[in-house]
Symmetry: C2
Subunit: 332 residues, 2 copies
């Protein structure tokens, strides 16, 4: 923790201090009408012994994104902070850690930001449409897959033993609680996601975005589309990056951009992920863009997983993000 | 509004007053591990051009319920208020009305209650498991179905015209926004829902429950299972009621219970629904239980739909609930 000495108080708010909230409001962004035909008529017991007939044919609203906005009475941040979840996850990933500590939603509220936690289309409260509306079938990510993919540890198929990486910061005893927030994901929906997140930025106006993993792509895309509205872009281990030969980095070269990377970034997947972001980062650097690359292990902070907002030192990492926002004048 | 004169100030909180919040916390209740086998291996583009392989076989957590708890710094209510959504809905139904006014979540927070808005299993942020885990297939409720079922108006198949009932209080111009919160529902999950809601009551401890439509059944069931913990039960147009010949009403005869019914309760479905609740209500009355039956039209409040927490006079109905809670000493 040496390098972060004093960072524990950087957000300027005591954990026990109450929050003065002006408003909690939920809304949807986007959505379109589709008509379903030739669906079977269902007759079901509506739990009270009273059967209800469902003619499932008719109109539906689909492709909307859900947002819960929490506005402070006296925000110290200049712009609302949008928090975008990763693939197979929902807004829950920002709310509370699986072992029950306050998540980044509470951290950044206490640190003076209006916070918008969203569920992208297809996830959580954005709901899913009847079958056939989207082209792809959903994929499901098992505990084994998450454990390995999030770099929490190894899993042995034979012995069925989940072995955490030595020194992991993930609260691995709460892995089953983490799994409760895992949601189906439709791999064919990437373009729709990007579209809707850009709509969200338009709906909110000037804002700062924290995006993670899959939504890193949607954050960089939203910045490309609305460079005037995205006032800061925080990329927590983004799973991809724009191709600098196809998308001009000039467009986003004025946006303060922060990358944060955890530990154990080995293997072909992570090497590809790192390399794509590194290339984009260097293209921005050549334009003297206000872009920063934080490798936690290089700062002496070891053991962080892909799910660093849930790791035991999640507040320490949020401190890094908050200090960076302060440095760029995004929060007083 | 004659009968409700003065009720607009009954919650004792100005709409513009800020809220002092001690904590916003999300958690899951229940959940169990299942193992999926023989599922196909999916290879998908993780939106950044980097393909990810999903071996979908393995362990999942299923059957959990999601809760967002908002705790006030100085609650005036004695117990947390649990808000349970209806069939095909999520916790969003309590957050904000489809036309963007504050929902009952904000109303009851401002009225001094700690509030827990949940997504029952299968809905919203509770997520859904891989196919095959639950016995039934999901059903989908179209705009036509919701429009008629919620008693907002008539729909003509030929002309495709949605005609609101004269004097409806539903913000029918926002019907498409309402549809964005409609979620698939698994008709075979009633027993699982009831179990998990009862677990939620156990997890929270002494509480007051507002339940609606389908969850009316889960509220009465939770009260039967935990009559010591359920300190008040508010049933907004519950879709069913216990059979008084099979479940002893004595068990819940000390729990203050309020029924609230809207307008246009005609047709076989609603006559059955009313009759089931009326029989249970009368069984409670015979035991001199503190049970109250509010028919809004009989109080001169007309035009309310099934979705009265979203109707234009949603605050007026919340006032009735709040005054009733005050009468029973549940809020100072």
């Amino acid at each position: 923790m040496g390098l972060m000495a004093g960072a524990g108080t950087s957000n300027g708010a005591s954990v026990n201090q109450s929050l003065e909230i002006a408003e909690i409001r939920a809304f949807f962004v986007g959505g379109r009408a589709v008509t379903v035909r030739d669906s079977p008529i269902a007759k079901v017991d509506n739990a009270g012994g009273i059967p209800v007939t469902f003619d499932q044919n008719g109109e539906y609203q689909v492709d909307q994104l859900y947002v819960q906005m929490i506005r402070l009475r006296r925000p110290r941040a200049k712009f609302p902070l949008l928090m975008w979840h990763g693939g197979g996850l929902t807004g829950v990933q920002w709310e509370t850690t699986p072992d029950g500590r306050p998540g980044w939603q509470m951290y950044f509220l206490r640190a003076g930001h209006d916070v918008c936690v969203s569920d992208g289309i297809e996830r959580g409260r954005a709901t899913t449409p009847p079958p056939g509306v989207w082209d792809s079938a959903p994929v499901y990510m098992s505990k084994q897959w998450q454990w390995r993919h999030a770099r929490i540890g190894t899993y042995d198929e034979q012995s069925r033993i989940y072995a955490p990486h030595p020194g992991t910061k993930f609260p691995s005893e709460a892995m089953d609680d983490f799994m409760k927030q895992i949601s189906p994901a439709w791999p064919g929906n990437a373009a729709l996601h990007a579209e809707r997140y850009a709509d969200l930025v338009k709906a909110i106006g000037p804002c700062v975005i924290i995006c993670f993993s899959q939504s890193g792509n949607f954050g960089t895309e939203a910045a490309q589309r609305h460079p005037d509205l995205v006032k800061g872009l925080i990329l927590i281990e983004p799973s991809g990056a724009p191709d600098a030969t196809k998308r001009p980095p000039q467009v986003v070269a004025k946006i303060p951009t922060l990358y944060v990377w955890g530990d154990n970034l080995t293997g072909p997947l992570w090497e590809n992920v790192l390399s794509a972001s590194r290339t984009w980062y260097e293209a921005l650097q050549q334009l003297a863009a206000p872009v920063e690359w934080v490798s936690l292990p290089e700062r002496g902070i070891t053991g962080n997983t892909h799910m660093m907002m849930m790791d035991r030192n999640s507040d320490q990492i949020a401190d890094i993000v908050q200090l960076w926002m302060r440095k760029h004048g995004l929060v007083a």
